[in-house]
């Protein structure tokens, strides 16, 4: 049985971080033996990385070992987020990790099947099922007094451009903000959903439109971030009062983490682009970083956050429940990437609602 993770006492604004260790692909485990693994799971929330000279121990909200089933990943990670989504909170689930670490398996299920009734189906189809289960239950309880409207959109962020996966003909889309509705992708198709099966269909269709690439290093690596968003709106009539609630559930499959070094997550790369004129273009990022560490003085930074962080600003230290599933491959050849994934996850734990308030009345208390 899994430990209870979501008792109210530990529930804060901090992002929850889960680590999942995938089993090595068949064959490699046999030849490499135990020596071939670069980490071991010590308990349900600690992991040891066999770094030299000293091994490193990391602590997370939950660590799933190689035997952990899809069902138990879902119940410990996503269940609570779907529930609070029903209560009007926004929720976001990210999968992070190097190509081949099991992100797609965790979020979607086995990559060769579109069949979401499969016992190996992942977090996203299970979230659909649970969400619609909860909706049906609510409807039964409240009768005609309460009604629900679910809509979804599915977009992809590739090279800082946004594409609609539900409308492969569409050109780049733009992010905009609305004073009541928050951040949204202008012009993205919104499809009304009435069941989990329908949601799965939409997901499958969009997934085929994603951009993948193969290099001699990686057989298949996703070069884009995919964001599946469900809007849940509920309307409750209580005598003459109509109570409308709306919340968002974002399910995000990030591009392979080894591809992300140019974004803020890593910020590390001297990078020389092919075109020599263009290659200085990230000087701005360097300067931005310099200004970032400034001592809290009023300043404006000309370069906006990446599209992804802007879209999910609420989820990253905003008014939402967020969790990150960091996927790692235990093979010793993946040591470097695994270390950087665990380091990233460690940092993610520190992100929380940054409610900095402009306030400078110190000394002005006469």
């Amino acid at each position: 049985a899994l430990p209870s993770l979501n008792s109210p006492s530990v529930e804060g604004d901090a992002i929850k971080v889960y680590v999942r260790v995938r089993p090595p692909s068949e064959g490699t485990a046999l030849t490499d033996g135990d020596q071939g693994l670069c980490l071991s799971v010590l308990s349900s929330n600690t992991i040891r990385l066999h770094s030299k000279p000293e091994p490193k121990i990391f602590t997370f909200d939950y660590v799933a070992n190689m035997e952990t089933t899809q069902e138990s990943v879902f119940s410990s990670v996503a269940k609570n987020i779907v529930e609070s989504c029903m209560n009007g909170y926004n929720g976001t689930i990210f999968a992070y990790g190097q190509t081949g670490s099991g992100k797609t398996f965790t979020m979607m299920g086995p990559s060769d099947s579109d069949n979401f009734t499969h016992s190996l189906r992942g977090v996203i189809p299970r979230s659909f099922e649970y969400l619609f289960f909860l909706i049906e239950r609510e409807k039964e309880k409240a009768g005609s007094a309460k009604s629900f409207l679910c809509k979804c959109s599915f977009i992809e962020i590739y090279n800082e451009q946004i594409f609609d996966l539900l409308d492969s003909a569409s050109a780049g889309l733009f992010l905009r903000e609305h004073i009541k509705k928050g951040v949204f992708v202008d012009g993205a198709v919104e499809q009304v959903l009435s069941s989990a099966a329908e949601a799965c269909q939409v997901l499958t269709m969009g997934w085929r439109n994603r951009r993948v690439a193969s290099t001699s290093m990686n057989r298949e690596s996703s070069r884009s971030h995919a964001v599946f968003t469900i809007t849940v709106e509920s309307m409750e009539k209580n005598n003459e009062i109509v109570n409308i609630r709306s919340s968002l559930l974002n399910l995000v499959d990030l591009a392979g983490s080894e591809r992300q070094k140019d974004t803020h997550t890593e910020g590390l790369r001297l990078k020389e682009a092919g075109n020599i004129n263009r290659s200085l273009s990230c000087l701005g990022q360097v300067i931005t970083a310099l200004v970032d560490v400034g001592n809290g003085k009023q300043r404006h930074i000309c370069y906006r956050d990446s599209k992804l962080t802007f879209l999910l600003r609420d989820s990253l230290g905003g008014n939402a429940k967020t969790c990150i599933i960091a996927n790692v491959h235990p093979g010793s050849r993946c040591f470097g990437e695994t270390l950087s994934t665990l380091n990233f996850a460690q940092r993610a734990k520190l992100i929380k609602n940054k409610a900095v308030v402009n306030e400078d009345t110190q000394g002005n208390v006469s």
Partner: protein, 592 residues
Amino acid sequence: AAGSGWAAVCEKFRTARTLSAVESRKDPETEPYRSKYSARALLQEVKQLLSAAEEGGEARLLAVRRAVLEYELGVNHTDTEELSAGEEHLQRCTQLLEPHRLSPDCVSLYIQAQNNLGILWSERDEIKTAQTYLESAEALYNQYMKEDGNPPLDPSEHFMAEEEKLTDQERSKRFEKAYTHTLYYLAQVYQHLEMIEKAAQYCHTTLKRQLEYCGYYPVEWALNAATLSQYYLSKQCFMESRHCLAAASVIFSQAGQVPSTEDNETEQDQQDLRQRKAEIARCWIKYCLNLLQSARKLLEDNVGELDPDRQLELKAQRKKEEDEKEKGRKKAVLFGTSDICDSVLAMEEKVSSVYPLDFQEAREIFLVGQNYVQEAKEFFQVDGYVTDHIEIVQDHSALFKVLAFFEEDYERRCKMHKRRIDMLEPIYADLNPQYYLLISRQLQFELADTYYEMMDLKVAIGNRLEELDSHTIKKINSLAQLAIKYYELFLDSLRNPDKVFPEQLEEDVLRPAMVAKFHIARLYGKLITSDSKKQLENMQTSLEYYTFLVDYCEKYPDAVRAVETELELSKEMVGLLPTRMERLRAKLCPFI
């Protein structure tokens, strides 16, 4: 035969370079490195052809040509994420060149190989190693320029026929570009090593060299310069900050004049340009705001009012400095050659870079800032750009706030604060805190604070009167009530979903929350009423809020640091208030 063989080698080499630099950009997304892989195969062929020709060739010439190939292969491998192989090739390249690195046919290649080794090591997170390579590239450039200085050969020339070789001008341009890249990579390395000042200096030099050698895109350059100005702001270097901003504005204006490379300039490009312009305007706003706020810091006394003695002192000091400055200003930071430089200087004259010391001077800076507020708002409209728009409005409000500091007349000062209320309140009313919690809190707090300040001003105005008239009393009470309302809204936003106020406050809201409590306590103390019972109630409420501060700090001693002054006063009030209340009670029921 050897001649035609060589021509074929050169041709292959050239094809490989085109594949790598030009064709690769058109590779399909599913096979991003297709052209790179073809280029690699060609380079391998060239390498073999070269070793076949080894006999009889001149050793040095061959070594240099081989180094060029190793370099190209090294870059090719790192481009395709094969770092170890890339490193081997680059290492071989530098080994081959080592003895000749200061000669004109090798120096540029050697520097570029070191640049690439720097990139490679940084991708492995070994920033220190990267730094060694890059600093040695920098040193080599300096040594070469000192000892020789003639335009050196470009690496690609080693595989060119004699008649195709580059002009000195072109050689020099490419060499300088390679060195600019060294500086640019060093800027990144220093940034990662947290050598912030040095990183900024290298960014600055990179920008300067981009201008000098015309290797820049105006819009991008302008944004970089504007961003750099914000770094100088955080260091209170207003002269440097203004220079960067003026240069940004001047170079940006060139962007509109240069016909764009692709003729089909879209609506989107236009939109982008407008956004960039608004971004630069926002940097100017921050400049004006910081200059005013820093001046305020210098001028204020311990209760936040303008200190006239300090004002006189600073004015005298400035006079003295101005006389000395006639000798000339810092030359090192100037951007651009004569033409650009003149425009930049003209731009700079529109706003001061020295601390304003009286209302008149402050007002001039305020007006410049306010103009940029209008400019920025033209693009960042609330519909579509909620966050940006509100941030600009907040800056506008902050400009009024700091201008009010310089205003002596209390009535006029109060009107300035009213302007702040008028711009903030409607936005707050519309904003959905489900998506904009942070901004919503900021607005609550700022509105509360503004009402609080206005209330204080009304009290000060009232104190000059012989007797408080009913109109003033009403005004004071209503301002205080509004301040309380917004402080309470802020405090309510900290409650958890079950509406419970947190037992322990998060660090980032600790001080604002405590200040809100403290101010509410004071506000209840200021409410004016002739009804003694009501007065007693207000005192009771006030006491509760003061007590909160005292109890909280007792329970969480870490909090004391954040609210030292407030805590001290609260303790005092917790001691005094019960006695006062006792006295009041005694007055109410004199016979008990």
